[in-house]
């Protein structure tokens, strides 16, 4: 279980408060969707969860353990996949699996077994000896996903995982996420596709202007806002919590 308490992140360089106050609870064996408009602070929150960024204040606990004090242990238990993350293009999927498996201290036997399983599932097996940089976007994404999941992480953090992928690859990834959920893994999804949230997520967290404004089940979301759909609830929450001042300020007015 992941507990986030009053998380805050201010970037020193440009003094931007990307995350102002985020508190969430994410449980094992569920798909948790993190929603919010562009620039709300979702990616920054996920980067802090994955230890890529240090919070300015606030706490993150993984199964009761402070993330900052146990960052190496936490990194060995999580996977984080975004579109920004790539693999070395000169290597084949086989070589990449050996390398990353080694970094996670997996034995060669464990690596081989996981590699075969994941490569077969994502249809990479036949390309396992081809250089990564010769792959199509979809194949690269699938390879990245397979490598990310190689060490069998407990928590999987996906920042818009199906962006730019064809419908078949999207479906393949969605099915795999459901499979992981069945295995009791904790999956955190950041997405703009509310339809995907309705189909897959168990619980939802909404961030607006760096603040968490909702955390509950998918069913509770429309109910809590007195509307019928997730879309309507999301828009209502956004309008109620969005700081107009911030936008006015950006245009240089009072």
């Amino acid at each position: 279980m992941i507990t986030i308490e009053h998380l805050k992140k201010t970037f020193k360089k440009n003094k931007v408060e990307a995350v102002k106050d985020v508190s969430l609870e994410i449980r094992d064996g569920e798909i948790f969707a993190l929603l919010g408009p562009n620039g709300a602070g979702k990616t920054t929150t996920m980067r802090m969860l994955s230890t890529l960024l240090l919070p300015t204040s606030g706490k993150i606990f993984f199964d009761g353990k402070d993330l900052l004090k146990n960052d190496e242990e936490v990194r060995s238990r999580i996977a984080f996949l975004t579109n920004e993350i790539r693999l070395d293009g000169q290597f084949t999927p086989d070589e990449l699996a050996d390398y990353y498996g080694g970094l996670y201290e997996m034995t060669q036997e464990q690596i081989n077994s996981r590699r075969d399983e994941l490569f077969d599932y994502f249809g990479i097996s036949e390309f396992r000896n081809r250089r990564y940089d010769t792959f199509s976007t979809g194949m690269k994404q699938k390879t990245s996903l397979a490598i990310c999941l190689l060490h069998d992480p407990d928590t999987i953090i996906f920042d818009e995982p199906t962006n730019g992928l064809d419908i078949l690859t999207q479906q393949l990834i969605e099915e795999y996420l459901l499979k992981l959920k069945e295995q009791g893994k904790c999956i955190i999804l950041s997405t703009h596709i509310l339809d995907l949230v309705g189909r897959m997520a168990d619980r939802v967290g909404i961030i607006v202007d760096g603040k968490s404004v909702f955390c509950g089940t998918v069913a509770e979301l429309p109910e809590s806002q007195g509307v019928e759909t997730i879309d309507q609830a999301f828009i209502k929450l956004y309008k109620e919590n969005h700081e107009e001042k911030a936008i006015v300020g950006r245009h240089g007015n009072n």
């Binding site: 360089k13 060995s76 993350i85 000169q90």
Partner: protein, 377 residues
């Protein structure tokens, strides 16, 4: 240090898989062999008339068959030279305008410097200018200081002069390609990874930051050292080929004769130097977003190091102990001392310790920087 071997292995594989890098840093130097040999065979023009053959040891460089031009009034100088036309040593307070001598009627004159001579570097480097200027001044009847005297040859002998050339050039020959190589490889290893998006995947692994940084530093050090060794080897090989072919190069290359202990000590210091430079390169690379930015940021380091190595080329005699504390310059001095067989243990230790301390300092700074926002965003 968990995972350092894996990072190192992966980085080395990455470099070895990049054919263009290999070509530029390993194969290209081999191709320069032909250029080295070609340059070595270049010889100054002779006019055919009024040319007298003489040879001159010029801080270990022998220049012969040189056209020194005609001179009408030779009386004074011939007389002086007649005292002992074979060998001369210049005094410590020697300055080129003080010595005006016409060698044009002398078949063979050899000039030796004392190592402690504080003569201007310009003079030592430019034999042609020296000879011509001296003659011009003599011809015009200007100051004739003429402290030209026959002196016994003491500390200068064939063995001593053997490594003079390589000792003078080695720091430059080593540091120039080394800094250029490290700037390139270090820029690629982190800033390049960031630009390609591959750095974050490694940062997400449970490998401790120290292992990640050290793995990258070791790979940059090794490949840069190998590449630089190829450059130096090719330069020496070029001269050897000339020597074997019976052709002396423009400087009359004095040859190389080094013992195994000298080679090992030079290698040890080269490794230390590589490690220090790689640390610096990785630190700079850590703060840059892509290779271009990193390579631009490395330029000042490359320039300063090249300048330090060039300065050492104009150093003659022994240097004060304080010079052995100046980073980069100190290692140039040690290379020269080792090749000239005059390295002192206290200086060697001082240089080794100062390099290590500096490298560890940079490593600590790199580790502290690893957690900064600029590196991670």
């Amino acid at each position: 240090m968990r995972g350092v071997g894996k990072i190192f292995h992966h980085e080395m594989q990455k470099i070895l898989k990049e054919k263009s890098l290999l070509f530029g840093f390993i194969l290209l130097p081999v191709l320069t062999l032909f250029v080295t040999v070609g340059i070595s065979m270049l010889r100054p023009k002779t006019s055919g008339e009024n040319v007298d053959s003489y040879s001159m040891f010029f801080y270990g460089l022998e220049i012969d068959s040189y056209n020194i031009g005609a001179l009408d009034d030779k009386q004074i100088w011939i007389k002086k030279v007649d005292e002992n036309p074979a060998d001369f040593v210049l005094s410590d307070d020697f300055h080129h305008s003080d010595v005006l001598v016409d060698f044009s009627d002398v078949e063979h004159v050899t000039i030796y410097y004392y190592e402690s001579n504080s003569v201007s570097s310009y003079l030592k480097m430019s034999a042609e200018a020296f000879v011509r200027e001296s003659f011009d001044t003599a011809y015009k009847g200007q100051v004739t200081g003429a402290s030209f005297r026959s002196v016994e040859l003491t500390d200068i002998n064939e063995k001593d002069t053997t490594n003079r050339m390589i000792a003078m050039l080695l720091p430059y020959m080593l540091i120039l390609p080394l800094t250029a190589n490290i700037a390139n490889f270090a820029s690629d290893t982190i800033a390049g990874d960031k630009a390609r998006g591959t750095f974050y995947q490694v940062m997400l692994s449970p490998v401790p930051p120290l292992s990640l940084i050290m793995g990258k530093i070791f790979s940059v050090s090794l490949i840069s050292l190998v590449s630089s060794a190829v450059y130096i080897g090719i330069d020496i090989l070029g001269s050897r080929i000339c020597e074997a072919a019976g052709v002396k190069d423009v400087f009359g290359f004095a040859g190389v004769s080094v013992s195994m202990s000298q080679i090992l000590l030079i290698l040890l210091y080269a490794v230390l130097l590589c490690y220090l430079f790689s640390n610096l390169g990785v630190l700079i690379s850590l703060f840059c977003k892509d290779q271009n930015q990193a390579q631009t940021a490395q330029i000042p380091v490359t320039l300063v190091c090249t300048l330090a190595s060039m300065m050492s080329m104009f150093r003659f005699g022994t240097s004060p102990s304080s010079h052995y504390l100046i980073p980069v310059y100190n290692i140039c001095l040690i290379f020269q001392d080792l090749l000239n067989a005059r390295a002192k243990m206290d200086n060697m230790l001082m240089v080794a310790i100062s390099l290590l301390v500096l490298a560890v300092g940079v490593l600590i700074l790199t580790l502290a920087s690893y957690k900064s926002e600029k590196v991670r965003t």
